[in-house]
């Protein structure tokens, strides 16, 4: 079996802070990490490798420093790593991103394509299904667990708001995996020592054979018009009142905040 896992390097959004004075985002010194859902997907692929001897390839699109997460993937046990890097890919929204990645995937053999459900920098959850559409493959999103019959069929547990669904699908297909599907393994020491001795394949525009008009900023139907932060918190108000009135104050605040 051949598995391709799409991974993304993202800023660790839990480490992002707002400047208390200006209310702007402090991005300096925020560590870059492998997107958590993608790591869950990678772990799922490696478990299939452990059990069935699958060949696991990781692919990422991003600037040169995205090499870090490919090395991390090597240290976790993947067989092959591809880095899509070209100025022509830059400025892409989800659709243009999915066009580039789907282009690269067309050049590879696969029985299963895995992406994370969503990336923590954008939380869009779009690229996985969009890749599936471009490749005309069936998709299963929000995957919590996957069983393989050893031949062709995957039985998949898919998370829903109310519980879960069990679905069945044959290879090849695309799944989008939750970080909570498993506990991703740590890199092994030996894997780390050897990670930089292995070769990451760098692919550019000419490798993916996709119409330039569908890539990068040109291929992006959506554009960011403006961005802003929510601003600095004002000092709180303290009330010393009777219980009845206190409850009313809380209710009206919650209403104001759209909680109720």
């Amino acid at each position: 079996m051949k598995i391709v896992v799409c991974i993304k390097q993202v800023p660790d959004t839990t480490e992002i802070k707002l400047d208390p004075v200006t209310g702007t985002l402090i991005r300096d010194g925020v560590p870059s990490i492998m997107n958590p859902d993608d790591k869950g997907g990678l772990e799922m692929a490696l478990q299939l490798k452990d059990k069935y001897g699958a060949e696991v390839t990781v692919i990422t699109m991003g600037p040169p420093q995205a090499d870090d997460i490919l090395r991390e993937a090597f240290a976790m046990g993947v067989d092959r790593a591809i880095h899509l890097s070209d100025r022509k890919f830059a400025g892409a929204d989800t659709l243009a991103t999915s066009n580039a990645i789907a282009g690269a995937l067309r050049m590879l053999d696969y029985d299963l394509i895995i992406t994370g459900r969503q990336a923590i920098d954008g939380d869009t959850a779009q690229v996985g299904p969009q890749i599936a559409e471009h490749l005309d493959l069936p998709q299963v999103t929000y995957v919590e667990d996957l069983k393989y019959d050893g031949e062709k069929t995957f039985t998949i547990k898919k998370s829903t708001e109310e519980g879960y669904q069990m679905v069945e699908v044959e290879a090849p297909c695309v799944i989008t995996v939750l970080a909570t599907a498993n506990k991703a393994r740590y890199m092994s020491v030996r894997g780390i020592v050897e990670a930089y001795l292995k070769e990451v394949e760098i692919w550019n525009f000419s490798n993916v054979r996709v119409d330039e008009k569908k890539l990068g900023l040109n291929g992006s139907p959506t554009r960011v018009f403006k961005s802003f932060t929510k601003g600095v918190k004002a000092a709180g108000k303290i009330y010393e009142v009777e219980p009845e009135e206190a409850a009313d104050i809380i209710v009206s605040k919650l209403k104001e905040k759209f909680i109720i």
């Binding site: 998709q139 999103t141 961005s227 010393e240 605040k253």
Partner: protein, 330 residues
């Protein structure tokens, strides 16, 4: 693309087992506002099997017309049949805007459609508005909620957006409203149906991890004992929150460790944090001070928690919380 051919605000109406999901009514409310700004119509896409009778309710919540796609292929949600159905609608009717609920269904369908239709999709919008040029301005959080971005899809149609449930406000139901209900026929390409649904299981979802909860009702010494925490659970139930705790109550064995907020527990940043009977020791503050909105209730008006609170109430939690729960229930 000739944008002038595209008009009206369409809403994909999510139903599960024939029950229209609240997010659909919320979207209709927003669609109504947007359509009024554009002087266009609101069209609801009602897809399913044996669901035609639900159409009138959609009109009552703001739709001008309902396209009813009633087919056995749509008896439950699976990506491909639903994608084919909505694609057919878009190709034939050319909506200017298409709104979808950001549920596990909508977030599965939306991107599949956007790739098929080669148009933009903005996920999890918290604000929708019309620009001076008549384009949809879609505002959404990014970077884990640290940044807000307003996004446009100027050159492609439809302009697609998903919105989480509870974000938009449902319009008032008006049973006197009238509108057109139309049956919309779709011929499915079954050769593309590859995913088989084996079973749907509903379960009492395990308690959400407190770090993921949007609202936390947190109790400390002032709550006292497990009786007190039952009171907090009732409040949590009413507002869809999770219950968490200070270290004192974990040490006392009243709450499990995985519910503890603070230096030796978990760091949380929910939208709303209720600090009830929590004095606000430094090690507790370290775990929750980045919450968006902090409501503190404590008897001691000098409790340090009030320095961190956005709204502080000096008073007895055991008196205020039952009253609050009762008011919220009504």
């Amino acid at each position: 693309m000739d944008k002038s051919q595209y008009k009206d605000v369409y809403v994909f109406v999510e139903q599960r087992e024939g029950v229209i999901q609240p997010v659909a009514f919320e979207l209709l409310g927003k669609a109504r506002e947007l359509a009024d700004q554009l002087s266009q119509n609101v069209v609801a896409i009602l897809a399913g099997y044996g669901i035609a009778e639900k159409a009138s309710e959609l009109i009552a919540y703001g739709a001008d017309s309902v396209l009813c796609i009633d087919a056995p292929e749509l008896v439950y949600y699976i990506t491909e049949p639903y994608a084919q159905a909505v694609t057919k609608v878009v190709e034939e009717r050319k909506p200017s805007i298409l709104l979808i609920g950001a549920t596990t269904i909508g977030r599965d369908l939306g991107p599949r459609l956007s790739a098929r239709l080669e148009t933009g999709l903005t996920a999890d919008c918290t604000g929708l508005d019309i620009s001076e040029e008549g384009d949809l301005m879609m505002t959404r959080p990014a970077f884990g909620g640290n940044l807000m971005a307003t996004i446009l899809c100027k050159e492609h149609r439809p302009q697609m957006s998903t919105v989480r449930s509870g974000v938009m406000r449902m319009g008032k139901k008006d049973d006197t409203r009238t509108g057109k209900v139309e049956n919309f026929k779709v011929t499915f390409d079954r050769s593309k149906f590859k995913v088989r649904l084996l079973e749907t299981v509903k379960e009492q979802k395990n308690l959400i991890d407190i770090t993921e909860a949007k609202i936390l009702v947190s109790g400390g010494r002032g709550v006292g004992n497990s009786e007190g925490f039952k009171m907090l659970e009732k409040l949590a139930e009413v507002i869809g929150a999770e219950v968490s705790s200070s270290r004192a109550m974990v040490d006392a064995g009243v709450m499990p460790h995985n519910r503890q907020v603070g230096q030796t527990g978990k760091t949380v940043r929910p939208d709303v944090y209720f600090a009830l009977g929590i004095s606000g020791a430094i090690q507790h503050l370290a775990g929750m001070e980045e919450s968006d909105f902090i409501i503190a209730v404590n008897k001691d008006k000098y409790a340090p928690i009030f320095n961190a609170a956005d709204l502080g109430i000096v008073g007895d939690v055991n008196k205020i919380i039952p009253l609050l729960t009762e008011k919220l229930r009504r």
